[in-house]
Symmetry: C2
Amino acid sequence: MFAVTILGNNSAIPAYDRHPTAQVVTLFDQHILIDCGEGTQMQLAKYKMRKSKINHIFISHLHGDHYFGLIGLLTSMGLVGRTNDLHVYAPAALEKIIQLQLSVADTVLPYTLIFHAIQHEGLIANTNKFTVECFATKHRVECWGFVIREKKDPRKIDKEKIKQFDIPAAYYNALKKGADYETKEGNIIKNDLVTIENTLARSYAYSADTIYDESLIEKVQNVSLLYHEATYLKGLEELALKRYHSTTIQAATIALKARVDKLIVGHFSSKYEQLDDFLTETQTVFVNCELAMEGVTYLIK
Amino acid sequence: MFAVTILGNNSAIPAYDRHPTAQVVTLFDQHILIDCGEGTQMQLAKYKMRKSKINHIFISHLHGDHYFGLIGLLTSMGLVGRTNDLHVYAPAALEKIIQLQLSVADTVLPYTLIFHAIQHEGLIANTNKFTVECFATKHRVECWGFVIREKKDPRKIDKEKIKQFDIPAAYYNALKKGADYETKEGNIIKNDLVTIENTLARSYAYSADTIYDESLIEKVQNVSLLYHEATYLKGLEELALKRYHSTTIQAATIALKARVDKLIVGHFSSKYEQLDDFLTETQTVFVNCELAMEGVTYLIK
């Protein structure tokens, strides 16, 4: 499974029961948390997503609607006795804020919090299941987008064939990477006899808060799913520019030019109670789009 | 109106849809906020309490379940264009946390935040409608309880009588304070002819997080309503002591010895899904007690 679940889709001020930004990317048995607005720990509980499955948290920037829920989540993880390491990737200043809040409460976390200050674009996380690259966006303060790519071997084992040739399981990993198999007798079994081509690795890009910025196109090129903010409807393009945000049409244009498979838009302004027009407008430019709705899980295909 | 509305009644970790501590004391047309756990701004919206009516915020101590929602509330107040001064009374270290969080977001609040670092017991706020005294409680970190007392004149105008003697409205304030009235002709109208004794000024005490501590009795003596924490049922008295908290019986004992009119207990541990036993146990010692339930407004009589 590779999917993203929206825990909050609103910008700045919570409104109409919409929460500030937070989303969970689920990859196999792990949850990766991207941004953590106020109330995220309650939203995790509401949507029955176990915080113990979160080992990596990415914070795009230090506006409150993207991180005010982090300290509560970190301390709650401690209170329930977490011992696994937790990796937090964020602008450098966040480390000081966390340490200050822990120190005034005389709190020592029972787990190791490994803080990764984001310094420049590129690969920031590399696990056996996925990689994460970050890229700078243009916002009022330092802000980072993220691309999460699943790691996938180029070949898959053909279960029927592998039985037929009686190849020991210890060799499967090499076969998945394309190696041939040599029998005890010295015979070579060519890789494509016992494997089949794997599906392409899927990817998810979150472009955080940003003005319309064509330099993003290259960063999110061809991803399976792009989350692009659309704080405003198209009529407020000037306001969007002034506040370093994007409109529906701008989000869709980036998706179109980057040839992504699918787009979800979110980070809606509290100006809007009804969201229908966000979809209508976006789809005039990029059809394969959905609104990022709280509690909904979007499969990454 | 003098009343307290509970926005959160849980301790430490949010659980069973119970939120961390926050409560609103409504006095005439003003809301006074006491503690501000994560999600308080959403709880204010949920229970339709306007944040624009809050001019004074009191924070008992710097454990997250009592203040992690403050920075979100302060910034949201700014985002909706507040210009009125806001007074925050709290342990000194909170000011640094707030300033750091504002500075990393490049945020300048459009209103003046007047931070009052609590240094010692005594009167900390004195407005034309109410006073607030603080007192130290015994908790794991520096912690303060608060007593809010309405200001009330000793006498009330007797509307029938005042007409009869034709006394101008300009003299009402002096009459309420007990003065006699002298007519133009030099005749003296004795105060008790045109006024009646006022009801006693009401008071609300919030004793924050605390172990069982008989020194509190004197601090909350005779208040109209006492909120005392009862994190645990009586069976966990040892754990309560270890964690610097109280049990049902301990909360009720303080209420009894302080001769308060009424008690509400809250700050329930996440151990407990059902709360019925909290009431049963407390009432074995102090009958006029209720549980502090979210969204409920308790009139202070």
